[in-house]
């Protein structure tokens, strides 16, 4: 399905959050886009809750042009690996 082409940028930033609340298969890998430090931290905290230990993903802050790598240090409490 092709989406209408409105606010692609906003869509991409929201995509990560939408996955987190709408899917059982969390996107615990790849590159995600954010805008601002708070956005990067929020995405990181979501990943900590929902991803397994060792999940690794990149965040790119489009607004400051800075990139980050997150390695999840332990199994998230909502992840498929949670005890």
């Amino acid at each position: 399905m092709r989406y209408t082409k409105k606010n692609k940028f906003r869509f991409l930033i929201m995509a990560f959050g939408l996955f987190m609340v709408s899917s059982t298969a969390f996107p615990c890998g790849g590159t995600y886009y954010a805008c601002g430090e708070d956005d990067v931290l929020d995405m990181g905290m979501d990943a900590l809750l929902n991803c397994c230990e060792g999940s690794t993903m990149s965040f790119y802050d489009v607004c400051s042009e800075q990139a980050y790598l997150l390695v999840v240090p332990e199994d998230g409490e909502n992840s498929s690996c949670a005890p």
């Binding site: 790849g30 990149s58 790598l69």
Partner: protein, 375 residues
């Protein structure tokens, strides 16, 4: 007397090595625009891309999850929409950090695995790095590119079937260069010691696991594999033909040779205090990955140290033997130039840092030519 003379000769021969700066002229064209039309590629969001031929580059449209083709022909660009990639199922491709194409097969790199996708097969093959004991002990092995500001991973050779990757064991902090041959399915750690101590010193992360990206960058040019770092100008070149490594010391006149070491993040620091340290490290000088223009020279874009007025971008030029021949302040020539670039038909295109319309990708063509001696 003879000894003094000998010392003098040694001194002269040492001081002139790698210090020759030639006069090159960099000419920035006027701003032009690529019409993105119905593609989901947005000029406001960096896109992942992979070169297909001299005048075609594959672009991942993350809005539609399709692999589109950007064609450069007769001096103009056309973006051709491609097929959508399934997210789930036997041919599902999960989120990835980069990709390459060889024939009808696509290779998708994640931080932890490579997914091999061919629409004519029943299912994908997935290779997990964690199953490979490269660093002497088990642990999480992550793969990434280094500079974080140009979204290409130019270390793929379709003809020989090789992909070169920078990998790190995130427990031990040890890094290495992996060679994966997708024809023989052979993975190996290359016999080359990276400057692991310096990589570790430039590693900084929050207790939650979020950190800066400081993996080595890899760039493949025929027989030469260039390994460089975002945090310092020095680099290494491995010649595959002669199986030899060579280190290149770097010099620069207009920006620092390396980043300052990051401040330590204490356990008592809040995430925001930690983020300030991560940002400081990133705002310091940052060396981009290498690119090549024809058979004449290599280049890389360097982000200068951030200051009150902003950031200056520089273009470093190297001859075909990796001898630096010039450094040019790009920002002085055109303040709108950004850090992302493409090379097509041996021409350099740098995207504008300001992209006011997301359906148009603004760029500048950058011509480089040697100055006439009489100029």
């Amino acid at each position: 007397m003879k000894i003094y003379f000998l010392f003098l000769i040694i001194l002269i021969s040492c001081s002139v090595e790698n210090r020759t700066v030639e006069n090159w002229e960099v000419i920035i064209g006027r701003e032009e625009k690529i019409k993105l039309k119905t593609s989901g590629v947005s000029s406001g969001v960096p896109f992942k891309y992979s070169y297909l031929t001299d005048n075609r580059v594959l672009i991942f449209d993350s809005f539609h999850r399709s692999v589109d083709t950007l064609l450069y022909y007769n001096g103009s660009f056309t973006l051709l929409p491609g097929n959508q990639l399934p997210l789930e199922g036997p041919l599902g491709v999960p989120n990835f950090i980069n990709f390459w194409a060889c024939g009808s097969t696509l290779y998708f790199l994640d931080n932890k695995s490579i997914t091999i996708f061919n629409k004519y097969e029943d299912e994908n093959k997935v290779l997990y790095f964690s199953e490979l004991d490269f660093f002497g002990k088990s642990g999480i092995v992550a793969v990434s590119r280094g500079d974080g500001f140009n979204f290409n991973y130019p270390s793929f050779d379709c003809d020989s079937g090789n992909i070169f990757l920078a990998a790190k064991n995130v427990h031990s902090g040890l890094s290495g260069i992996l060679q994966f041959n997708f024809r023989s399915n052979d993975f190996r750690l290359m016999e080359f010691q990276l400057d692991n101590e310096e990589i570790k010193k430039n590693t900084v992360s929050l207790p939650m696991g979020l950190g800066v990206i400081n993996f080595p960058d890899v760039f493949l040019s025929r027989d030469n594999l260039v390994v460089s770092y975002a945090f310092k100008g020095n680099f290494h070149v491995y010649n595959r033909k002669y199986n030899s490594w060579r280190n290149y010391d770097h010099y620069a006149e207009q920006y620092p040779l390396a980043k300052n070491l990051p401040q330590e993040i204490l356990p008592s620091y809040s995430n925001h205090q930690g983020m300030a340290i991560l940002k400081d490290w990133q705002d310091d000088v940052s060396y981009g990955s290498f690119g090549q223009l024809g058979e004449r020279y290599f280049f890389r874009v360097v982000k200068g140290r951030k200051h009150n007025e902003g950031v200056n971008l520089f273009l470093e030029l190297f001859d075909i033997t990796f001898r630096k021949v010039d450094e040019v302040n790009l920002t002085n020539l055109q303040p709108q130039l950004g850090t992302r670039w493409l090379v097509l038909e041996n021409e350099l295109f740098i995207f504008s840092k300001n992209q006011p319309k997301e359906d148009e990708l603004a760029y500048y063509k950058v011509a480089i030519q040697k100055k006439n001696v009489n100029d």
